[in-house]
C-alpha cells in the first residue's frame, strides 16, 4: 500500500485559492481560533510532541526552534516564512503557496502567537509571481476580514504580515542571507552563532520556518501532536511533499508519509519511466542533493532512512534520470548552477564553485587531465568543511556522490 496522505494538499485544486470564504468554509482559521484559546507554551508543546521536522532541507526540529524563540525575553520578536524556494527540482512550496495561500497566513499567525511575536515577514521567491499575487491577496483579505490585525477575536494578540519578494538569488533561501536581504543589504549569509532564535531579523529573536513546515501547523494544533506522530514512521512523522521531475510519466507533487519508498514514488505515483527506458540515477534533494543508484530504489524517503545510506532528503526534490542521460552533462549543469549562485563571501565557496565548474565542464567535454579526481575531491571536501553556509557546504554533494555511486572518473592508469 502506498502511504499517500491528503493533509497538506487537501485544499489545493479543490477550492478557489483567492476566496477567503471558501477557505473558512473548508475549516480555515479554526486552528488559529483554537490556538488563541490555548497558552502559547501549550502550542509549542504540541509542536514538540508532534516531532515536526523542518521541511526546508536542513531537517532541524521545528519544536526546538519554537521553544528557543519562546524563551527569549528580548522584544520585539519576529516570525519569518521562508518561501524563497529555489532548489532546482523543488516546487512543493509553490504548490502550497499557489494552491492554499490562506493556510500559510494562518500558520504564521499561530507561530507568532506561540513564540510571542506580533509581526511576520513572508519572503517569496521573486520568480514566483503567481504565488506572490495569491499571497498578497490572501494577506490583504485576511486583514480586511479581521484575521490579521489588532486584537484578533478580542484577545490581546495582534499580528500582521509583510511580504517581501526575493530578487533571484538562490543564497537568499539561506536564513541569515534572507534576513540580510530583507534588511536591504547584500544577500550573504552571516556567521552562526549567533543563531536566528537569538539574533535574527534586525538582530531580534526570530522564528524562521519553511512554507511546508508551517503548512503542517494548523492540523497539529487542531488534532494534537500525538495524532501527528501516528502518521508514518515514529522518527519521521507527518505528511511530506515530494516534487518529482525528470523521466517519469506523471511529474508533479505527491504527498505521502515518510515510509514511502523511492520505488513507490517513481512507479506507483509518478507512473514509471516512459519510452520503455530504465532508471540510470535519481538525484534526491536537488542540486544540493545526492545521487541514488537504480538498486537503491527500495529506500524509504525519510530524513533518517536516507541518511543511513549516505544520502539526504533535502527539500524533497526527486529528479529521475533514465539511461539516455549523460551524467557528466548533469554534473556540468549542477556545478555551473553553484558557480553562478555562490555569493562570494567565503573563499572556499567563492573559489571552489568556480574551479569545480571549470574542471567538470572540461571533463563533460571528454577532456581528462591527470589529477582531476583528486582536485575535485579536494575542492569538494574543502567547500564542505570550511564554507560559511549550506550553499558551499553542499555545492559538491551531488558531484562527490556521483563519484562514490558510479565509477565516473577514469583511473590515473587509464589516462
Amino acid at each position: 500500500m502506498v502511504p499517500r496522505t491528503n493533509i497538506l494538499g487537501k485544499r489545493v485544486g479543490k477550492i478557489d485559492p483567492g476566496s477567503l470564504p471558501a477557505y473558512v468554509a473548508s475549516g480555515g482559521f479554526l486552528a488559529l481560533r483554537k490556538a488563541l484559546t490555548l497558552q502559547p507554551e501549550e502550542i509549542v508543546h504540541e509542536i514538540m510532541a508532534a516531532h515536526l521536522i523542518g521541511r526546508g532541507g536542513a531537517a532541524f526540529s521545528a519544536g526546538f526552534k519554537w521553544a528557543a524563540v519562546r524563551r527569549e525575553t528580548a522584544r520585539p520578536k519576529y516570525v519569518v516564512c521562508n518561501a524563497d524556494e529555489s532548489e532546482p527540482g523543488t516546487f512543493k512550496d509553490r504548490y502550497l503557496l499557489e494552491g492554499d495561500p490562506f493556510r500559510i497566513v494562518e500558520a504564521m499567525a499561530i507561530s507568532a502567537y506561540a513564540v510571542g511575536a506580533n509581526r511576520g515577514f513572508l519572503y517569496v521567491r521573486g520568480e514566483y509571481p503567481l504565488a506572490y499575487k495569491r499571497l498578497a491577496h490572501a494577506v490583504a483579505e485576511s486583514r480586511r476580514a479581521g484575521y490579521l490585525g489588532l486584537n484578533l477575536w478580542n484577545t490581546e494578540f495582534c499580528f500582521d504580515i509583510e511580504i517581501y519578494r526575493g530578487a533571484g538569488a538562490y543564497v537568499c533561501g539561506e536564513e541569515t542571507a534572507l534576513f540580510e536581504s530583507i534588511e536591504g543589504r547584500r544577500g550573504q549569509p552571516r556567521l552562526k552563532p549567533p543563531f536566528p532564535t537569538t539574533n535574527g531579523l534586525f538582530g531580534q529573536p526570530t522564528l524562521i520556518n519553511n512554507v511546508e513546515t508551517l503548512a503542517n501547523v494548523p492540523d497539529i494544533v487542531l488534532n494534537g501532536g500525538q495524532w501527528y506522530r501516528t502518521l508514518g514512521p515514529l522518527t519521521n512523522p507527518g505528511p511530506k511533499l515530494y516534487a518529482v521531475s525528470g523521466h517519469v510519466r506523471k511529474p508533479g507533487v505527491y504527498e505521502a508519509t515518510m515510509d514511502l519508498t523511492l520505488q513507490e514514488l517513481i512507479y506507483e505515483l509518478a507512473g514509471g519511466i516512459p519510452g520503455g527506458r530504465r532508471v540510470q540515477a535519481v538525484l534526491v534533494g536537488g542540486a544540493a542533493g545526492t545521487f541514488l543508484r537504480p538498486d537503491q530504489l527500495d529506500v524509504a524517503l525519510g530524513f533518517d532512512t536516507l541518511r543511513t545510506i549516505g544520502a539526504t532528503l533535502g527539500s524533497g526534490a526527486v529528479m529521475v534520470l533514465d539511461d539516455s542521460v549523460d551524467l557528466w552533462n548533469v554534473l556540468r549543469r549542477v556545478t555551473r548552477f553553484f558557480q553562478h549562485e555562490s555569493c562570494g563571501k567565503c573563499f572556499p565557496c567563492q573559489l571552489g564553485t568556480q574551479r569545480q565548474a571549470e574542471i567538470v565542464t572540461r571533463l563533460a567535454a571528454g577532456n581528462v587531465h591527470p589529477g582531476d579526481g583528486a582536485a575535485l575531491t579536494d575542492i569538494g571536501l574543502t567547500m564542505r568543511d570550511a564554507s560559511i553556509c549550506g550553499l558551499g557546504q553542499m555545492a559538491s554533494s551531488a558531484l562527490l556522490s556521483a563519484f562514490s555511486q558510479f565509477s565516473l572518473l577514469p583511473r590515473e592508469d587509464e589516462l
Binding site: 553562478h340 549562485e341 562570494g344 572556499p348 573559489l351 575542492i379 564554507s387
Partner: protein, 229 residues
C-alpha cells in the same frame, strides 16, 4: 571578575576569560593559526576560512578568528581536514589572484605544502589598474577579497562607505558606488583602506610610481593635490 572557560587546544588544557576567541586562546598557548582576512583593528568577518580549526563533534570546521571558546570543547588547530582546507584555499587563491606581493600567503603555502600552480588552468581575475587619484592606486589583480578595505571604509573605522563589494561569487570585486572614480565618490582619502590591505592591491601612489621607475619630478607631478576650481 570575568568568568573563565576551559577548553583543550591540541591536547593542552587552556583556561581563558569568557568571550575569548579560539584564535586568541591558541596564541596564548603558543599555537599559531594562520589568518588572512583577520585584522586586529577590524571586526572578524570569518570570510577567508584559512583559520578554520576542527572542534571535536562539530559537523564542519569553524573559523578560529570569529568563534568564541566554549566550555569543554576539544579543539585541533591542525588535522587532516584543517590542513586540506588551508592548502586548497591557498592553491585556489593563487590561481585567481596575483599573490606575489602577499607575503603571508607565500609563507603559508610553504607550511601547508600548497602547490600554487595547481589550478593554473583556471580563470584568473584580471583588471586594469585603477589610477584615478594622486594618493593611491587600486590593482585589483592582487585583490583576494578579504574585505578589510570595505570594513575600514565603513563601520569599523571611517564611516565613509566609499568602497563596497559588487558582483557575486568568483566575480565579486571591490569597487565604488556605480564604479565612480574615487575623486567623484565620497572617499576622503584617509588611507585606512591602504593601511589594512594585505596584498598591495591598494598601494600609495608615490611608492607605486617609484616601483615603475619614475623620477622625482614625474612623481611630484602625478601626486600633486588636485587644485580647487
Amino acid at each position: 571578575m570575568t568568568e573563565e572557560v576551559r577548553c583543550t587546544i591540541d591536547g593542552r588544557m587552556v583556561s581563558v576569560p569568557a568571550g575569548t576567541t579560539i584564535l586568541e586562546a591558541a596564541r596564548q598557548v603558543g599555537r599559531d593559526i594562520p589568518t588572512l582576512c583577520h585584522h586586529e583593528a577590524l571586526t572578524a568577518s570569518g570570510m577567508c576560512r584559512i583559520c578554520s580549526v576542527e572542534i571535536e563533534g562539530a559537523r564542519t570546521l569553524v573559523p578560529a578568528c570569529a568563534t568564541v571558546v566554549r566550555e569543554d570543547t576539544v579543539i585541533h588547530t591542525r588535522s587532516e581536514r584543517v590542513d586540506r582546507s588551508r592548502k586548497v584555499i591557498l592553491e585556489m587563491l593563487a590561481s585567481a589572484s596575483d599573490v606575489s606581493e602577499a607575503p603571508d600567503i607565500l609563507a603559508y603555502a610553504e607550511t601547508y605544502n600548497a602547490d600554487l600552480s595547481r589550478f593554473a588552468d583556471g580563470e584568473k581575475r584580471t583588471y586594469d589598474i585603477v589610477d584615478d587619484n594622486p594618493f593611491y592606486i587600486r590593482d585589483y589583480n592582487k585583490c583576494i577579497l578579504c574585505g578589510r578595505c570595505v570594513q575600514a571604509c565603513g563601520t569599523d573605522m571611517q564611516f565613509t562607505f566609499a568602497l563596497t563589494t559588487a558582483g557575486r561569487g568568483f566575480h565579486s570585486h571591490i569597487t565604488t558606488f556605480f564604479d565612480q572614480p574615487l575623486p567623484e565618490s565620497v572617499c576622503v582619502f584617509c588611507g585606512n583602506c591602504v593601511g589594512v590591505c594585505p596584498t598591495n592591491a591598494l598601494q600609495p601612489k608615490q611608492e607605486w610610481l617609484l616601483e615603475q621607475g619614475a623620477n622625482w619630478d614625474e612623481i611630484r607631478a602625478q601626486t600633486k593635490k588636485p587644485r580647487r576650481h
